[in-house]
């Protein structure tokens, strides 16, 4: 993501924080426990390889989603999280959103990347199959997210579908506040080309997902 993009995102997230502080109904005791838990984690985890202690520092989206976890997220906060995250989404300069589904399938299969046990020089995967059904050939798929089998076929092979797939992979919080799905573009988990390839896996009529 470009520097400008980051600044915009940062500003948007600061704006959410301001709004939340006013409407905050959390009991002081609970905040105190949260603060102590965060401090305890800082002293109980240790940096290892690429996974440094900085990973425990929450951004505003993570903080709010943790705070409201296990209970209903107020609509106003959900909207603010979604708007702030929508503002982070970057698009390729050449406007090309769709790559090679075959490469996308490999990315969808791979769970490598960002663990302290992973080689930081190897490209990360998106591990889509951990949570989603995609190609019917892969029996070993998870169900944390919805089935994406026939994604393109069902949504239509339109520009709108392609753009939505790009956005959702780039930053899922833009559409579903506190989604379980990682923000692959926003956190630079995938490169621009990798996102294109995963988009292709979803929207290319020739992809096994649409057979």
């Amino acid at each position: 993501m470009g520097i400008i993009g980051r600044l915009v995102a940062g500003a948007a997230l600061v704006a959410i924080a301001g709004g939340v502080l006013h409407g905050c109904a959390t009991a002081p005791a609970d905040t105190e426990v949260s603060d102590r838990a965060a401090a305890m984690m800082k002293s109980s985890f240790k940096s290892r390889g690429q996974a440094t202690l900085a990973r425990l520092d929450q951004d505003e989206t993570q903080r709010l989603c943790s705070e409201y976890a296990g209970r209903a997220l107020p609509a106003s906060i959900a909207t603010k999280i979604e708007q702030a995250n929508l503002a982070t989404i970057q698009y390729p300069a050449d406007g090309k959103l769709v790559g090679d589904w075959k490469s996308g399938e490999k990315i969808a299969q791979s769970g490598q990347g960002f663990q302290y046990s992973d080689d930081p020089n190897k490209p990360a995967g998106a591990n889509c199959y951990a949570c989603h059904q995609l190609s019917p050939k892969e029996l070993s798929y998870g169900t944390i997210g919805p089935s994406l089998y026939h994604f393109g076929k069902l949504h239509g092979y339109s520009d709108a579908t392609r753009k939505y797939a790009w956005q959702k992979i780039y930053n899922a919080e833009a559409f579903a506040a506190c989604s379980n799905m990682p923000r692959f573009g926003h956190h630079h988990i995938l490169t621009e080309q990798q996102i294109r390839d995963v988009v292709a896996l979803l929207v290319d009529p020739a992809s096994p997902v649409n057979q």
Binding site: S34, L139, G142, I144, I189
Partner: protein
């Protein structure tokens, strides 16, 4: 040539029997077959090999002080093992700390057997016969002595209660490059990651089923793993930094999950994928 012969034989075999799975398996039959797989494993659990080694270790004089665990108090009195795991973590006044089984074993090794902290925790997680973990063997033995005993973590004890509440916060703490919290994978009913069922740890039944089946022999690793390992490796996959062995955070999260398992009969060490 070789391949051709092999194929020919295979074809002959296929033609001659109906024992071959017909292609096109789908989700329900996959789940059924995985259930069959797990059931078939129950017949012989290599965790017993760890239990036997742990029992020898528990009874033998060890360390620079050459004393056994006979004086080690897991909460029910010196040397008492039966049922002890079902009440851990608990607050130990002699250590002024809430401890889980592994931290308590280390405490006894350091304070009674004369080991240094570093020596006691040198091989926290074993790796093959060249790097065996005494702690994993001891944990296998101690936990097996609570089989069938109902989980009964003292949540009314203030120190334990506090750790439970901190652990609950940790459970929902999102962070890292992937925004994961424990709750990301363990906050809903009936979910799987790949083909692995994910217990919903926010529900009592889910926490009971999960907590009471650790430690476990992991067939994927050929090792017996304790709950400290379970948490350590979850956080690795969460893309978090490393959870330190026996750290307060590890005990807080254990207290939360063990406390939620209260009332269920302990059923480990188990065997798992």
């Amino acid at each position: 040539m070789r391949t051709i012969i092999r194929r020919a034989v295979a074809a002959a075999v296929l033609a001659g029997t109906l024992a071959v799975t017909v292609g096109g398996a789908f989700a329900e039959s996959t789940a059924d077959e995985i259930a069959k797989y797990r059931e078939a494993l129950q017949d012989g659990n290599p965790a017993e090999l760890w239990e036997a080694r742990g029992e020898e270790m528990w009874k033998a004089p060890r360390g620079p002080s050459h004393v056994s665990f006979a004086r080690c108090d897991l909460g029910l009195g010196p040397g008492v093992v039966k049922g002890a795991y079902a009440q851990l973590p608990r607050y130990f006044p002699d250590a002024s700390r809430v401890m889980d089984l592994e931290t308590r074993l280390v405490w006894c090794m350091v304070n009674q057997q004369g080991y240094s902290e570093a020596d006691a925790t040198k091989t926290k997680f074993g790796n093959g016969s060249a790097h065996r973990s005494d702690l994993e063997a001891l944990a296998a033995y101690v936990t097996a002595q609570s089989r069938g005993v109902k989980m009964n973590v003292a949540l009314d004890e203030p120190h334990v209660r506090d750790m439970y509440r901190l652990g609950e916060k940790m459970f929902y703490y999102r962070g890292g490059t992937h925004d994961f919290a424990c709750a990301t994978c363990h906050g809903d009913d009936g979910k799987r990651i790949r083909l692995q069922d994910l217990p919903n740890l926010t529900k009592v039944e889910g926490a009971q089923k999960a907590y009471t089946t650790w430690p476990a022999y992991r067939v994927s690793q050929g090792e017996l793993r304790t709950f400290q390992w379970r948490l350590n490796d979850c956080f690795r996959q969460q893309r978090f930094p490393e959870l330190a062995f026996g750290s307060d955070a590890s005990i807080a999260l254990t207290a939360y999950l063990a406390g939620r398992a209260n009332g269920a009969a302990y059923d480990g060490p188990a065997i798992k994928r």
